[in-house]
């Protein structure tokens, strides 16, 4: 296995507004290697975005953030970097695609010149080369008539085209890690598949690392090599996409997969919802975060946080934070 290119460990992120403080990420981590696609899965508020973008300083302004742990990009410690170095890393090393391209692209700025500027600053191209590069990036992202679109404002493009432009913008600096934060949530179903296919194609061609933040299990099965399931700021289960999607162990992962509707079944009877709601992350209690919604809950679940335990002997570590299921089903652990 190649060494990780973006790696986060033991991350704790507290968010403060004047009235509340929330532990958005509670001792969690992930890693992704070049050429690999990691999907970070979880419901809204589980901390997916905060965990991935927080170490890069990409949280919305106006929220105070307290961040601890380690985060390394290409072996370099991100959290101790100067603001200028971190800015440069964000611009060049990472490319980010956001959820809603309509609001993520500045309505007052033309699309093409932004791409050209990134190419000029980070890929070391001349102004003229950068313009050509921008046009070819638009073309590569599947935008028809890229010469014309270069000088367009965001409102002149459709949502799907805008997300393609956003992808082109994220790629303009030739990043090593592409972070896609719910890249299809705001798009029509037919466009979603196209965007996912485009991300997969780019990943194959460029061999970059991709982090896909999503709650769309379908997108995970299309793109991901590995999956990390996040619940209330903690990693519940992680492993290869095959292991996690076909042999889930954690009760939350099982519930999450069971709640995905299967369009081939006649009714919605095939789907089950997970009862209850995620815990409030303003009050921290010991024990498993999922305990209140779990069928298998035992008294020990409420007193001790379950550790992530590696299962089996597969080449890609499959880790689960649920000793109850492991014991009950006699699952073989790694050591």
């Amino acid at each position: 296995m190649t060494a990780p290119i973006y790696e986060v460990e033991g991350l704790v992120i507290d968010l403060y507004t004047p009235s509340v403080s929330v532990r958005a990420v509670d001792v969690a981590g992930f890693h992704v290697a070049p050429g690999e696609t990691l999907a970070i899965v979880g419901e809204s508020g589980s901390g997916k975005t905060v965990m991935t973008l927080g170490p890069l300083g990409l949280l919305p302004e106006g929220v105070a953030v307290d961040l601890r742990g380690t985060a390394r990009a290409d072996g370099k410690d991100i959290l101790s970097m100067s603001p200028a170095d971190l800015s440069r890393l964000r611009g060049g090393f990472f490319g980010v695609i956001f959820q809603d391209p309509m609001s993520a692209l500045n309505p007052m700025l033309k699309i093409g010149p932004q791409l050209a500027r990134q190419a000029q600053l980070y890929a070391g191209l001349s102004a003229e080369e950068a313009r050509k590069e921008a046009v070819s990036l638009l073309a590569r992202s599947g935008i028809p008539d890229p010469e014309d679109r270069y000088g367009r404002y965001p409102h002149e493009l459709s949502g799907g085209m805008l997300q393609r432009a956003m992808i082109a913008l994220a790629l303009a600096a030739r990043p090593r890690v592409l972070i896609a934060d719910e890249p299809t949530t705001a798009l029509d179903a037919t466009v979603q598949a196209q965007i996912l296919a485009l991300i997969r194609q780019i990943q194959k061609e460029d061999g970059i690392a991709v982090i896909l933040i999503t709650h769309d299990i379908g997108a995970v099965s299309v793109l991901a090599d590995r999956v990390a399931v996040l619940y209330a700021g903690q990693v519940a289960e992680e492993g290869s996409a095959v292991d996690v999607l076909t042999a889930p162990v954690h009760p939350y992962t099982r519930g999450l997969l069971a709640s995905v509707p299967d369009f081939r079944s006649d009714h919605a009877t095939g789907t089950r919802e997970i009862p209850g709601i995620p815990p409030s992350q303003t009050q921290l209690e010991p024990g498993c975060r999922f305990a209140d919604r779990c069928d298998l809950v035992q008294s020990s679940c409420r007193t001790h946080r379950p550790p992530l335990v590696r299962l089996g002997a597969g080449p890609v570590p499959h880790r689960v934070a649920c000793p109850v299921v492991i014991a009950a089903e006699g699952i073989v652990t790694h050591d």
């Binding site: 300083g57 800015s87 890393l89 993520a104 500045n106 002149e156």
Partner: protein, 313 residues
């Protein structure tokens, strides 16, 4: 866009018509009698009722109001605003002498508003809750709540009387303009500084600002390159509104600093019941108000690519 433009211009013309009609009626309704004033001026104490009635008849003052307004409007459209009852000179002549003074006051003040409001608003956003932000916020509050006659008096006391840096009165070179410009600019600059600051803050919390950070821009670069273009629209509309209000400030400021402009003329016209002068100045104000607001509304439309280049169907 073109239809919107034509509609705005049409609306502005209607507004001017309505506003001049209203002021015409108000000026007529004010106590005092034009015919009596003219008679008094011509014959002194010898003016009698018969003479006043004859003058009123000659001037058509006994005609119904709409007829008089229509007559006035016809003259005004040809540039004839009548003869000032106070100075005895045609109003067109008075305007030619005084408008440059008022324009110098307003344009200098306007430039100062532009520079001060942008500098204060941007500095506050750069500081973002720091000492500078809070001090500037306080200054803007004081500036927006201090009446201009008081500001003028304080400025004169400090800079003219105590320090002796600038003259207290009249026009003598650039330095004499500093206090009038500052006085007239303080209120609109304070209001606009808040507009800049608040809208920058709003832009900085929008998703496109996060995209700016993701592009590798520093916070200052996100402010200047991503957020600043987005405040153009609210800024221009508010600037237009505040700039038109400055003509009200000009009435006081010209008076206090002894500038011989339209505002000072207006005060004298009221004191001497110069109805002709009052109506002429009010008309000028109406035209100024409506056309400047129109201009800035159109500029704001031009600044917004969504309005300038609507999506093709």
């Amino acid at each position: 866009m073109q239809r919107m433009f034509m509609r705005r211009v049409g609306l502005a013309l209607l507004l001017m018509l309505a506003a001049t009609a209203l002021t015409f009626w108000l000026v007529t309704a004010a106590p005092g009698n034009v015919a009596a004033l003219i008679a008094e001026r011509a014959a002194g104490a010898g003016a009698d009722g018969a003479m006043i009635a004859r003058i009123a008849d000659e001037l058509g003052l006994n005609d119904p109001l709409p007829v008089r307004y229509a007559r006035w409007l016809g003259d005004a459209l040809t540039g004839d605003f009548g003869i000032s009852l106070r100075t005895g000179k045609p109003m067109a002549e008075e305007f030619a002498e005084r408008i440059p003074m008022t324009l110098a006051l307003l344009s200098g003040g306007g430039v100062l508003v532009l520079v001060l409001s942008l500098a204060m608003g941007i500095a506050g956003a750069v500081s973002n809750g720091g000492v500078a932000d809070r001090v500037l916020h306080g200054l803007a509050l004081v500036g927006a709540s201090t009446p201009n006659f008081f500001v003028a008096a304080m400025l004169v006391i400090v800079f003219s009387v105590w320090l002796g840096w600038v003259p207290t009165f009249g026009v003598s070179g650039l330095s004499s303009w500093l206090l009038p410009w500052t006085t007239i600019a303080l209120f609109p600059a304070s209001v606009l500084a808040r507009v800049v600051r608040v809208n920058l803050q709003d832009s900085m919390s929008r998703p496109f600002a996060t995209t700016g950070f993701a592009k590798g821009l520093t916070r200052r670069a996100v402010l200047m390159r991503e957020a600043l273009p987005n405040i153009a629209i609210p800024y221009m509309t508010t600037f237009g509104a505040q700039f038109t209000l400055m003509i009200i400030g000009a009435i006081v400021v010209e008076r206090v600093f002894g500038l011989n402009g339209v505002g000072a003329f207006f005060i004298e016209a009221i004191r001497f019941r110069d109805f002709i002068g009052m109506q002429a100045v009010l008309t000028l104000f109406v035209v100024f108000f409506v056309s400047v607001n129109l201009l800035f509304d159109l500029l704001a439309m031009l600044a917004d690519p969504r309005l300038r280049r609507p999506r093709k169907a």
